[in-house]
Structures are given as C-alpha cells and as structure tokens.
Amino acid sequence: MATATGPEAAVALAGVGRAYGERVALRDVSFALPSGATLAVFGANGAGKTTLLRILATLLRPHAGRAAVLGAELPREGWRARGRIGLLGHEPLLYRDLTARENLRYHARLHGVPLAAADALLERVGLAARADDLVRTLSRGMAQRAAICRAVLHGPDLLLLDEPLANLDPGGALAVAPLIGRQAGPARVLISHDVEQGLADADWVLGLRAGRQVLWGSAVEVGVADVRGLYA
C-alpha cells in the first residue's frame, strides 16, 4: 500500500477516518496519489466514496488520521488548497434560476478568472446556443456539461470527479474529454461504477467496502474481477 508522504503527492492520506454521529463512513484509509496521476475509486453504494471525495475537497474534516491535499494539511491548511481543486459531485453545484453563463461567470468572479474564460468553455462543450437559458430548463446532460465547465473553470491542480460522464450522450462525452480526461493534466480522483472504463482511465485503484479500504494497487495489477468483487 502506498504511504502518505512526499511533497510531490497530489493527495496523501494516512489512516483517515470520518463518522457521521455514530455511523462510521470511512475508516483507516491510506494512500498517496502522485501529481498528474489518476485514481479510480470503486465501491458499492454507501461504501464511503462520496465522503472521501468531500474530505479531499476540504468540505469535510477528517475525524481520524492525516490528510494532505496539494501539500496542504487538512483541515488546518485547507485554505491553501482551496481554489486549486475542481469538484464535480452528484449535484452540479449550479443555481437553477441562473443561466449557465451566469453560473459560470459567478464562479469566475469567485476564483478571479476572466469572464471570457467562462464563455469560451461553454463554447468548447457545445453549450453556446443554450448558455443564456436557465439551468432548470436544460436537460440533465446539458446541465452536466455546464457543471464540468464550472469544475475546470479555474484550472485546478486536482480534479475530483464523481461519475463525470453520467447523463452525457457520446457527443457530450467527447466534448468534455479534453477538459476532464487524462490529457487535461491535473491529478484526478475518479469515482466510477463502470469497472472496465474506470480501470482503463486510471493509474491507481482504490476499493472501498463499508468505509474500509479493501483494495489498492496500480491499475495494471488490479483485475476486473477484483473490482467486481467489491459489488458482490
């Protein structure tokens, strides 16, 4: 198992745990992810994947162990990592009564990014024609594309992606690939239920079951059957 050391690590966890009241959602998770590498996280519903992602996003405090993201110790130095992380979670984090363009421009202002960058991104993912429509009138696939634009708008060094291709048609998946694919550049933590695709897309694999780390290895070593076993 990789250990959580080294300034080169995009993510370094050592014995990280998290509970919600009495319920332990994550326990004793340890790994290190080098900069620019991709980690695929697998596990059945309730395995702790989303909790892990929110800890890495600095939105949840770890209750046990040590966690460092982009060299910042969490939660003490979380402020150092903020603005360098892009999160695409279950929810698009878009205001439904704002247009896609207004949402992106709002986030551009928060991150100090030129507003033109938001417009350019909408163009790149094929949303220019619907950019001035309210998000609540967009299809789920279009909203997902807008959410991907929001997640990468500020050029993050770490991308946290929870089922990023959900709701996207093949054309949409193709359009967003340069933004969130391996070629995008930043380290990625990718939650996926598509085992083959997830393994093909990753350098490292983490398997969770009931909050415990039960699988870790390079994507070359870990087999499809090992991952499928997590869902049995």
């Binding site: 600095t58 992380i85 999160l87 929810e91 984090l93 205001y95 207004e102 986030h107 928060l110 991150h111």
Partner: protein
C-alpha cells in the same frame, strides 16, 4: 473582498428577481398584518406607543420570513460547496447576505410603511419622514446582521422554519424596543415630538456589537 461580495450580491438579487420568494412574502405579510390591526383594533388611527409597537412587531415578523429563506438556495443547490472551495474570505458571504437582507427589508418597507401610514396613522405624516427613515435604517441594519447570523445557523438544521424564528426573535427584542421607543414620539397624537437620540444610540450600539460578533464567528458557522 469587494469583488466577492459584489458577485454574491449580484447573484442573490438576480435569484430573487427571478423567483420572487422573499420580498413578496415579506410585503404581503406586512400589509395583511396592518389590515388585520386596522380592523382588529377597530380604530380609525393609532398613535404613540401603540402605533410604534404595531409597526415594529409587524416589520420584525415579516423580516423573519426573509431570514428563513436567506441561505436556502445555498443549501439546496450546492452554493455553499461552490463558495467554500473558492479562494475567498468567507466573511464575504456574511457581508453579502446581510446586505441582501437589508435590500429585501428596504424593498418591502417601500410599500409596507406607506401602507401602515395610510391604514393606521392620521394624515400629516410627511414631516416625520426623515426621522422615521433614520430609525428604519438603524433597525434594518440590526435585523440584517442578526438575521444573517441566525439564518446561517438555522439552515443547517432540518426544522429551519422553526429554529430561525425561535433564535431570531429573542435576539431582536432590543431592536424592537429601541426602534419602537425611537419611533413612538414621531407618532404622538398631539403632533410629532423630537426624535429621542438615546434610543438611536442604543440601536446603533446594538448593530455595532452584533456586527462585530457576526464578523468574528461567521467563518466558523460555515465549517463542517
């Protein structure tokens, strides 16, 4: 900080203009309450302490409606997550939300106060307008600061419609007392008396104390 506060305020005001959730509710509540007082008390006009009490209790209760909704969009549509991950001073959200609530109060009062005057005061109120505006501004500042603090606390709970008024109303009692005491002489039956500076000072002091307190603790309210 100014850029962040501006971005948050622009977003919130735009959302309110699109959804019309808070201001119309505050407005309808205020006007309906004045109509109820008019017929419930069965008087053609009110004066002095009673008029001031009716005005401020109504405005405070209307303000609670706005407080309850202040952070709902952030909670329900992921606004907190997007904001918390941005490299910005988190106090900007307090300043923006308090400013937005202040704007909501002013917008509601633009209609509610004239409605109060028409329904419950004797004619000739025009001369007290500058003094009344001074009290309204100081009271609204206090309501906005306390409302933002309480709204941020309440939105984390499942029963926010209960929690927000239960927390806000006791904290707003000094605002109600100060505003009513400051306003009562303006509504005196025999003609408007002078504005009591002591009560204006009490309001200003309360605003300042809660403003500093909110500024100090708001960051922690947003933490996990």
């Amino acid at each position: 900080m100014r850029r962040t506060v501006g971005a948050l305020m622009r977003k919130d005001l735009r959302l309110e203009l699109r959804s019309f959730e808070s201001v119309p509710a505050m407005l309808m509540f205020s006007v309906s309450a004045f109509v109820l007082f008019r017929f419930g008390l069965d008087r053609d006009a009110l004066a002095g302490d009673l008029a001031a009490g009716v005005l401020w209790v109504t405005l405070l209760l209307a303000a609670v409606l706005g407080m309850s909704r202040l952070f709902v969009t952030e909670q329900e549509q992921g606004g907190f997550d997007g904001f918390l991950m941005a490299p910005v001073d988190r106090t900007a959200m307090f300043l923006a939300k308090a400013s937005v609530l202040f704007c909501f109060l002013v917008a509601a009062e633009l209609v509610a106060v004239p409605a109060f005057v028409l329904l419950l005061l004797e004619p000739g109120w025009g001369q007290i307008l500058p003094e009344l505006l001074a009290v309204l501004v100081l009271a609204d500042l206090g309501i906005a600061v306390i409302g933002t603090l309480v709204g941020a606390l309440g939105v984390q709970t499942r029963a926010r419609e209960l929690i927000v008024p239960l927390m806000a109303l006791p904290l707003l009692i000094p605002v109600a007392i100060g505003a009513a005491e400051a306003t009562a002489p303006l509504f005196a039956a025999g003609g408007a008396g002078p504005l009591p500076g002591r009560w204006l000072a009490v309001l200003a002091l309360y605003d300042a104390v809660f403003g500093l307190l909110a500024f100090a603790v708001f960051d922690f309210l947003l933490e996990d």
